[in-house]
């Protein structure tokens, strides 16, 4: 099967089979194939991501979207080819992804990959895809350096980690007009990175910035702090007089801190990043009302597209609402299909070239790639907690 390049080869091969093998079974299959008028060639779009292990859910979110996009494309019957999905399970693990990439590259029908899902896995797999000119469009790999590694076949439909902090700062200072911001980080690599990127941009934008490190608690994650410290830290935030507070950290500790802030009488605006963008923030905040009106940014979109949401639910049996990176995976697949449609002769390299030029209106955003494969334009969404739910407000 691997040798069949396209329809021509397939026909040649089956004719050869017909000549060599005379039995009736061979005759029957060959003659039935011949009566069909010009069957469409089949191409494969692969998905590489976690399809087993601890990150399975994230992989399922994406793979159902890929399947949905492919099913829809096939169902229109307008394409000059048929599409098929092949799943490559790397468990999100950089040590497994090279093997999966080699297996994908060896599949001659495979034209492009949606994924890899995880940054580490992407970094490990990309050299193999690059060597075979296989375009990879990741819905979720956000490590900054992936775009600067010189892989011209690398694309992603999600903003990278370096974009969020500055984009949040612009939103708070420029869009919302806050002139004084209290910036808290949880002491984690993620939280302090995000908070310091925010603080730098907010200062550049002309705001007065006060920073504080309030370590994440042992009860939430692997932090070193204690929830009892949040009482004093919240008092200080109130006394700083800042009208907005940015928290770099994760939802569990933010939940504790929100309770302390509400106890201390804080009334300003509160914003946090994707580490806190979870409905678990609301269930973990005491009292739950303290989470109201908190702004949460994320590079991930929540789909408001009814057709997608319905199709996704039917296929996967779970709701698209809360299925992180599902809409991105849908867009990634569709942008590959759109690129294939533009080509007279579909080749792997042709798809890479077409993706560099394409402008496609996805369900999450307008998809247009920069030269390095990053998405062009603003791609950070801002969400808000409203009466116990995380609601998407739109792009920042």
């Amino acid at each position: 099967m691997k040798l069949r390049l396209n329809k021509t080869v397939a026909v040649v091969a089956s004719s050869a089979l017909l000549l060599l093998a005379v039995p009736a079974v061979g005759m029957a299959s060959a003659s039935s194939a011949a009566t069909k008028p010009k069957p469409k060639p089949t191409y494969v779009i692969g998905y590489e991501g976690p399809l087993s292990g601890g990150n399975l859910q994230l992989g399922l979110n994406m793979v159902f979207s890929v399947e949905l996009a492919i099913n829809q494309a096939n169902a229109t019957h307008k394409l000059p080819f048929k599409l098929k999905i092949v799943r490559y399970d790397d468990q999100g693990d950089p040590t497994l992804s090279p093997t999966q990439a080699q297996s994908a590259v060896a599949n001659k029908k495979l034209i492009a990959i949606v994924g890899p899902a995880f940054s580490g896995a992407t970094a490990a797999a990309e050299p193999y895809y690059q060597a075979a000119s296989v375009a990879t469009v990741s819905p979720s790999a956000t490590r900054v350096t992936l775009a600067s590694s010189g892989w011209n076949n690398f694309f992603r439909v999600v903003a990278d980690d370096g974009v969020q902090g500055p984009s949040d700062a612009n939103y708070i200072v420029k869009t919302k007009g806050f002139k004084s911001v209290y910036v808290v980080n949880d002491g984690s690599a993620y939280g302090s990175g995000l908070a310091s990127a925010f603080a730098t941009q907010a200062t550049t934008d002309g705001a007065t910035v006060t920073t504080a490190t309030v370590p994440g608690t042992a009860q939430c994650s692997d932090g070193t702090g204690s929830a009892t410290e949040y009482t004093g830290a919240a008092t200080q935030a109130v006394h700083s007089g800042a009208s907005a507070l940015f928290y770099g950290g994760y939802y569990c500790d933010l939940g504790l801190f929100l309770g302390a802030l509400s106890s201390a009488g804080y009334t300003g605006t509160i914003m946090s990043g994707d580490g806190s963008d979870s409905s678990a923030l609301i269930s973990g905040t005491t009292p739950a009302s303290a989470a109201n009106n908190v702004l949460l940014s994320c590079a991930c979109a929540v789909s408001t597209n009814k057709a997608f949401n319905k199709g996704f639910q039917n296929l996967s049996n779970f709701s698209a609402n809360g299925a992180t990176y599902a809409p991105e995976a849908y867009d990634a697949t569709n942008v590959i299909i759109a690129a294939m449609k533009r080509l007279k002769k579909i080749t792997r390299a042709g798809v890479v070239a077409a993706l560099h030029k394409i402008t496609y209106k996805g369900i999450t955003k307008l998809i247009k790639f920069q030269k390095d494969g990053n998405i062009a334009g603003s791609a950070i969404y801002v969400n808000k907690v409203e009466s116990g739910k995380v609601v998407q407000l739109g792009l920042e």
Partner: protein
């Protein structure tokens, strides 16, 4: 003056404006530490053993209180008035009861068999750590690894102000419960026959048993008393910070510090150590970031121990209190 002088002057200005707000929060934390520390100190007094599974007694009380609040308050609006008072008393009682039950089981399963075989002290320590791991992993398995917010049995609002600093309802609850429990405990230990038994065992277990004190019973009661306060503290902590299977670790470590600070084995020392630790931690926020708060806490501990190796009050349960 110089740069350091300016640094201090600026921070003392902040201290002046924030002092009372931080002080109130510090006293509340200190009372919680003290309530947990009592469990360490009592057990140390009678067994010469650090009960490292005490953090899980605290956690059990937290979960017990959480389930009671979830049952009675649920997702509805927080009640007010007398029903709030009733619910909080119920929470403290159930938290304390479950804490006492877990402490009793712990004593029976993890410590008594070792005591009967005259095991070396290190065996107790390993047994304690093992029990702690078992209990919090069991809680993680049974209740899930997520953090849960406790439904609020009251509306948290400033009740009154001390020098301009608001005192929240939550703090008032901790003050009242803490005061009642400390007073009652102090009375029991110093005035009653039961307390005399505990003190006698602490002073000299062998002689106490010759004098007719039932050692097994006294030790069991000591665990019950410590477990009650620890479980109640777990409920009070969970009221504000929610519950999760690993919630016991850090507060219990702080409380252990407080017990050593006040003089391990000394009941009043545990309460005072807790208060001092809570207040100093909170006030130190003016000078250092929250990230360094533990440095301050342990700095205080080391300094005190350098001057008074037996802690602030320094005497044993048997002689003092």
């Amino acid at each position: 003056m110089g740069a350091f002088g300016h640094y201090l002057a600026a921070h003392f200005d902040t201290l002046k404006s924030e002092f009372w707000a931080l002080f109130v929060g510090g006293v509340a934390n200190g009372l919680l530490y003290g309530m947990i520390a009592v469990g360490y100190t009592l057990v140390y007094g009678v067994l010469r053993l650090i009960n490292f599974a005490h953090s899980e007694i605290f956690m059990s009380g937290g979960f017990a209180g959480y389930f009671v609040m979830r049952y009675f308050v649920g997702a509805g609006a927080p009640p007010a008035g007398m029903s709030s008072v009733g619910l909080i008393i119920l929470g403290v009682l159930v938290g304390g009861l479950v804490g006492a039950i877990v402490a009793t089981v712990l004593e029976r399963v993890a410590y008594r068999p070792l005591r009967k075989r005259n095991a070396p002290k290190l065996a107790y320590l390993i047994s304690a750590i093992g029990a702690s791991y078992f209990l919090f992993n069991l809680a993680g398995k049974e209740f899930g690894h997520l953090a849960y917010a406790t439904p609020q049995p009251y509306i948290n609002h400033p009740v009154f102000h001390i020098f301009g600093a608001p005192v929240q309802m939550y703090f008032v609850i901790i003050f009242l419960v803490g005061l009642v429990m400390f007073t009652a405990l102090d009375r029991v230990i110093s005035k009653t026959r039961l307390g005399r038994g505990i003190r006698a065992v602490a002073q000299d277990a062998e002689t106490a048993s010759l004098m007719g004190v039932n050692i097994d019973r006294t030790i069991a009661i000591t665990f019950i008393v410590g477990g009650t306060l620890g479980g109640a503290a777990g409920f009070l902590f969970g009221l504000s910070y929610g519950v999760v299977y690993t919630m016991g670790f850090v507060p219990a470590l702080k409380a252990f510090t407080a017990a050593v600070l006040g003089g391990i084995g000394n009941l009043r020392g545990a309460m005072i150590g807790g208060l001092i630790l809570g207040i100093f931690e909170s006030l130190s926020l003016v000078f250092v970031q929250a990230a360094y708060i533990d440095v301050v806490a342990f700095g205080i501990l080391v300094t005190v121990l350098l001057v008074r190796p037996t802690g602030i009050l320094g005497e044993r349960l048997g002689r003092a209190a």
